[in-house]
Assembly symmetry: C2
């Protein structure tokens, strides 16, 4: 029970090969060796995003990529519809407001997906809407929105569909071109299985017209400049070399195994976790559960924040609690990263022990047995 396990919705456990690559001697980002790595990863990112458009790497967290999407598209005064169904929807709306947009918040009950009809109606009544902001997966509630349908709805208007794919890209299908997404962002510490530090962004042809004319000042996140640098086989600024080399490995791995197989493995982890947790007597928090992260509603009256710390300190398992209005009420378990079956079994077993310690009656040894049976019956 003493091996540490990290099953958070990012950062995630690293592939052993990535750990090795991170430890390699430094190379410079202006060398023939790095040039080749860069060319391969920029190509691999198009595969990951399932787009024909260029995908850019930025040295930032996912929030930096959210800012990048907005400063590259917005002009002050633009009307923006923000789907707000959790903490990261709030963040979309906040950033857009900081940069002078007139933001309408489409508030969705936490744990629910947005009603397509509400978006359709808003766009019909507000045809001047410039941007629709959404999460693919709202990490704070472990909930997915119907990005495919939303993309179809927005594509029939002049608005741009800008999607935070931070807990989605590399975790479940979100093909940018097919889903008619106009700007898609991702972060390194989620589906891409790396440490925090790189973010990714791509714009559709429809969006590029706005990138070229948007009036928000920008420098660090100016994708027009990065595009030129990439055309010359370079990055605009210094590159976080160990992360890019690790990304090269991950993208090769994903291209070899195929995205579908990768998504299948993650979905199996989600199915296992949901099934086992519900068998244990926990209920799902989300009405539209994501495959990248599962949120369980904790039994009424249980001190969730303390439970999380207890799991961390007594059982060496890092899962996440809730944020803002869900604080103390839910527990979130991530399904991305380098996760073997024994990590999943041990996590559920330790969760059972922790719940026991907090007065919730559950036989932890049964949890282990159930888990082993389920995983055997549902092989990779």
């Amino acid at each position: 029970m003493s091996n540490p396990i990290l099953l958070a919705p990012g950062p995630v456990q690293l592939h052993p090969e990535v750990q090795k690559i991170l430890a390699q001697p430094m190379i410079h980002h202006r060398t023939p060796e790095f040039d080749q790595i860069l060319a391969r990863t920029l190509k691999g990112l198009k595969f990951l995003f399932q787009t024909t458009q260029p995908v850019f790497m930025q040295t930032s967290t996912g929030s930096g990529a959210m800012e990048s999407a907005l400063v590259n598209l917005l002009s002050p005064g633009d009307e923006v519809l923000a789907i707000v169904s959790g903490k990261f929807g709030e963040r979309w709306a906040d950033i857009a407001e900081v940069y002078g947009a007139k933001v309408t918040r489409l508030n969705v009950e936490w744990g629910s997906a947005v009603k397509l009809e509400d978006v359709r109606t808003h766009l019909k009544q507000n045809p001047q809407t410039k941007i629709v902001l959404s999460q693919a997966c709202e990490t704070s509630t472990a909930t997915v929105h119907d990005i495919r349908e939303l993309g179809r709805i927005v594509s029939e208007t002049d608005a741009l569909f800008v999607v935070d794919g931070i807990t989605a890209v590399g975790a479940f299908p979100i093909p940018m071109d097919d889903y008619k997404i106009d700007a898609l962002i991702a972060g390194s510490q989620k589906g891409v299985m790396l440490p925090t530090g790189l973010s990714f962004i791509s714009f559709s042809e429809k969006a590029w017209k706005h990138v070229l004319t948007a009036k928000t000042p920008r420098y660090y996140f100016d994708v027009r400049k990065e595009f030129k640098a990439n055309q010359n086989g370079e990055t605009l600024f210094s590159s976080p070399v160990p992360l890019v080399k690790s990304l090269d490995f991950i993208l090769s791995m994903l291209q070899n195994m195929g995205l579908n197989q990768h998504f299948k493995e993650i979905k199996r982890r989600a199915d296992f976790t949901r099934t086992t947790g519900q068998k244990m007597g926990l209920s799902l928090y989300s009405q539209a559960p994501s495959d990248s992260v599962t949120a369980f509603r904790l039994p009424e009256g249980m001190k969730g924040a303390e439970l999380r710390t207890h799991l961390e300190q007594k059982y060496f398992v890092t899962v996440m609690g809730g944020q803002d209005q869900a604080k103390g009420k839910i527990l979130r378990i991530g399904h991305m990263g380098y996760i073997l079956d024994h990590h999943m079994i041990e996590t559920m077993e330790r969760l059972a022990l922790g719940l026991n310690d907090f007065g919730f009656k559950i036989d932890a040894s049964k949890v282990k047995a159930w888990s082993e049976v389920w995983l055997k019956e549902n092989p990779l």
Copy 2:
């Protein structure tokens, strides 16, 4: 001759202990373990900057920190004096212009330090100047400005002295408070000896008043928000955990050995390199050479860009060429990072061999002998 050597002005060779830390299993940035690391590193950064003010970590390259300094201080229309003595001075001016400042470029001949009198005169004639921008070391020319005197001059006015310390902090003395610097930035892949990916920024009390009132919109680099998060023992966004853990190690090391000893070691490398290079018949490009990086002027007519690639491909040594107007004319050798004496000897020896291959007459075996004697006569 086949062991790769990286003596660039960043990124730099990593300490073996840092390589080990980078390879450790991931931990989450919202855990008691990380909280302790964060508290220690935020304290250690104040030691590194030699300031009583808070120093912030950002997930970005150094250019992101340049943007951060400006968006946190500027309001559109502000008058800015930019000391432009190379590529990074140009970058300061460019970013300030993007964010709506009225920028006066004080152009200085490449390789020279700014004349103090010119800054004094400009500030006297333009008392409404809001910000003076300078590099501590202009990396593109390996030249230092007299930051201590510039700080004194600017401090006697209402202007803020904003210093790019990217190739300076952790490489030579630049005590922020003593030198009356109002905003100081640094990057992880230089004097701090880590991979690219973290940047650091701190503001004086005089500057904070502007931070609180500046009208430039900002979100990702908003230090007001980061300050609040740090006060609560957290970072605002996801943290690049392996880098922060490595930073913790480096800062502990520097605090144990003392900054002066660290600077002495770097200065010895600079002295060695300048002496040996000049003995080889090369001349210094800079009139005010930096201890963090040395630039040699290449013999007239030599194809510098090709020489650099040749050194890389035949001798496995990465040094940097020149940029923009110095392109092909100079060679830059870095003195920061994990550098042992044999790295320095081998670099100069391989440089001699490379120069030989390009028709410059020099006995490489002599270079080795000279180097060994100098290093013995000038021990650590």
